[in-house]
């Protein structure tokens, strides 16, 4: 008999230690990633209760949020950042956890590092005290973001309690038009299903559009599942996944790899797998997409006007008014041509080699508009090294971009990279919340790295499909 369970349920069942009478599952966690922001209080809980880390070899730490991407000399200029850095160093040393710190060239944004090292594998349960843990679902794992109390629980027991979510399959079929990227696909899905459409669900992304995506593109899609309200999103493992994992430092080796590959592929949802809900979209309907508001669902195709207040449901109108006011935009106006002050290429959504190569291809031979401050922040030290080996930094620098060290940078406001005042930032990151990029009144327009590159050159939001020389 064929297994009608989807991948999510197969993996969930495999990791179920016990189910409580109330329906909660005590779930075994295969990989626990930690970083400096959400872990110090968790280690304190362990100290208070005289507990050890149960499975230190299944726990890996890195530093990303507070890391300065300019001078990284210690002690950091910011005392608080220095304190956090010292805390994770001490905690990892005291509890026997491997820390990929600034001296280790494997350091970087936790959601870039895990996959790059081959730590992230299909069929695993992966948690991290960070909502973008959903990124790791690109390999066909259950990957969810957790709070600090949960971090303590997983450190001490390698398990946590969770309610099994429902699973919604999001099918996108067809070929993406030139100039349309994985980022546009996920922004489009969130625009259609809303920022809370995924609450209570895990998202399975399926269909020919995802089948032909590289693993890096799949990570961009799964990364923003949480922006759609879904705590996790995944894509079934296939040969692309197996090929990506071959030869990575933490991947299985030799005959073990072959056994692993067979098992990984066997996890994929079958054609007759059951889903609680199925939603379908057409790749051909997706345009290069830009957010104009203060939630990731407030977006439009770059050729489209902003919505008119009277056209949206009454219960949405308050939020739209608030967003327009904060952004200083008018209803019905085009997004194209909106002047920007800052261009940011980076974050766990879009800071990998394929993102940097594409952005470099677009800026090559052009100059950043004189009023724009533009920065490129690779997702990890290894990405940075590889990009430099390919000479990408020279292309960026010649165009007027700053080339930085690896970290979260301007994705959020915990390190020196911040917007000032009401600056408008074209950003390849994942959140356009009020104040997200470090200035309480700063404004964020989310888009693909290629679109950020074009906006940096033009000085305003541009349509990548029309951008001179992009030849998409």
């Amino acid at each position: 008999m064929s297994d009608k369970r989807n991948l999510f349920n197969k993996v969930w069942d495999l990791h179920t230690v016990q189910t409580l009478p109330g329906g909660q599952t005590q779930l075994f966690i295969g990989l626990h990633l930690i970083h400096e922001v959400t872990s110090p209080q968790a280690f304190e809980i362990l100290r208070d209760r005289k507990l050890k880390v149960a499975f230190p070899e299944r726990t890996i730490a890195t530093v990303d949020h507070i890391v300065p991407t300019g001078s990284q000399a210690r002690p950091f200029l910011d005392d608080l950042a220095e304190q956090m850095m010292s805390a994770i160093e001490k905690n990892c040393a005291d509890f026997g956890v491997t820390l990929l710190d600034l001296k280790d060239d494997r350091q970087g944004i936790v959601h870039v590092v895990g996959p790059e090292q081959g730590l992230t594998q299909p069929g695993m349960t992966i948690v991290c005290g960070d909502s973008h843990t959903s990124t790791h679902g690109a390999f066909g794992s259950i990957a969810i973001g957790i709070g600090t109390s949960n971090v303590a629980e997983v450190l001490a027991t390698q398990t946590m309690f969770l309610n099994r979510p429902k699973v919604r399959q999001i099918v996108v079929n067809g070929k993406l038009a030139p100039g349309v990227y994985a980022k546009d696909v996920i922004l489009y899905i969130i625009q259609k299903l809303g920022v809370q459409g995924g609450v209570g669900y895990a998202y399975e992304f399926a269909g020919s559009t995802f089948d032909v995506m590289t693993i890096e593109e799949r990570m961009t899609v799964c990364n923003m599942s949480i922006e759609g309200g879904a705590r996790c999103g995944y894509i079934n493992p296939d040969q692309t996944t197996v090929d990506y994992l071959k030869g990575r430092p933490f991947s299985p080796k030799g005959a073990e790899f072959d056994r692993a590959a067979v098992w990984w592929l066997s996890l994929a949802s079958g054609d007759d797998a059951h889903f609680d809900d199925v939603v379908e979209f057409n790749a051909a309907d997706i345009e290069p997409t830009v957010t104009w508001g203060i939630t990731p669902a407030q977006s439009v195709g770059v050729g489209q006007p902003l919505p008119r207040i009277c056209e949206v449901a009454p219960e949405e109108q308050t939020l739209i008014r608030e967003a327009l006011k904060f952004m200083g935009l008018e209803e019905g106006q085009p997004i194209k041509g909106t002047k920007i002050d800052v261009a940011f290429i980076g974050s766990c959504t879009n800071s990998r080699m394929s993102d940097l190569r594409e952005a470099a291809r677009i800026v090559e031979g052009h100059k950043v508009a004189s009023h724009v401050k533009a920065i490129v922040v690779p997702g990890s030290q290894l990405v940075r090294k590889q990009a430099m080996a390919e000479g990408l930094h020279l292309i960026f620098e010649a165009a007027g971009f700053e080339w930085r060290a690896a970290g979260c940078s301007m994705c959020l406001a915990m390190n020196p990279d911040k917007l000032q005042g009401r600056e408008v930032c074209a950003s390849s990151s994942n959140r356009n919340f009020k104040g997200r990029q470090g200035s309480p009144t700063g404004r964020t327009l989310l888009m693909s790295p290629a679109m950020v590159a074009a906006a940096a050159i033009e000085g305003h939001v541009a349509d990548i499909r029309e951008f001179a020389g992009a030849a998409v």
Binding site: F28, G147, V199, A413
Partner: protein, 199 residues
């Protein structure tokens, strides 16, 4: 970690009936540069309060409120437990909202903060009642799953597992997970990637 039974919460209420309030707004990221949660209370909604002097969290009549009434998808975005921590340290002991983001909801559970759902219409009635009388005592009853506020009363919902954990005082999840330590060690042996993919 205290482990008290939480069957109901009675306090005055502050309402913020906006939708999609994310955790960056509840506690801006710069305040996450810390190694303890102490002191987060005073920064709850810091930037929103700066930009809007009439923000409910700025208003003297709502200082001391212990129950927060909120809109749809409250606490979306980042997983930072700093968000419910800052609300708790500001004085919030229970939250009634149209809906919650999942990670935020779970974090509230870990801190012993009941997070219950109510209809928009009922939340608006509640907001009107406290607007009229900010000193009105509200009760969130987890056993009856009701909210009462003077002559306003309405039903609320909460998943059984979360409610039972609070009502029986078993929201110290860590303690409960530790009990199964041997079972976990045994279970690990059945996980294919921990056994050379032979399991």
């Amino acid at each position: 970690m205290s482990n008290n039974e939480i069957k109901s919460v009675t306090a005055t209420c502050i309402s913020l009936l906006l939708d999609d309030i994310d955790t960056d707004r509840i506690i801006p990221a710069r305040f996450l540069r810390c190694v303890t949660f102490d002191g987060l209370g005073e920064h709850a909604f810091e930037d929103d309060r700066q930009q809007d002097p009439s923000h409910p969290f700025n208003q003297p009549q709502f200082q001391g409120a212990g129950i927060l009434a909120a809109g749809r998808n409250f606490g979306c975005g980042s997983s930072r437990e700093h968000a419910p921590q800052s609300l708790m340290r500001w004085g919030i002991k229970a939250i009634i909202a149209e809906s919650f983001a999942e990670i935020f909801f779970g974090n509230c559970g870990s801190l012993g903060i009941p997070a219950v759902k109510a209809s928009r219409a009922d939340l608006e009635k509640l907001a009107a009642a406290i607007q009229k009388n900010p000193k009105l005592e509200i009760t969130v009853d987890l056993q009856k799953l009701t909210v009462t506020a003077g002559d306003v009363a309405f039903p609320v919902t909460m998943p059984n597992s979360a409610r039972d954990a609070l009502a029986t005082g078993q929201w110290d999840y860590l303690g409960r997970l530790l009990i199964a330590a041997d079972q976990v060690t045994e279970h690990a042996k059945t996980v294919p990637y921990l056994s050379g993919f032979r399991a």
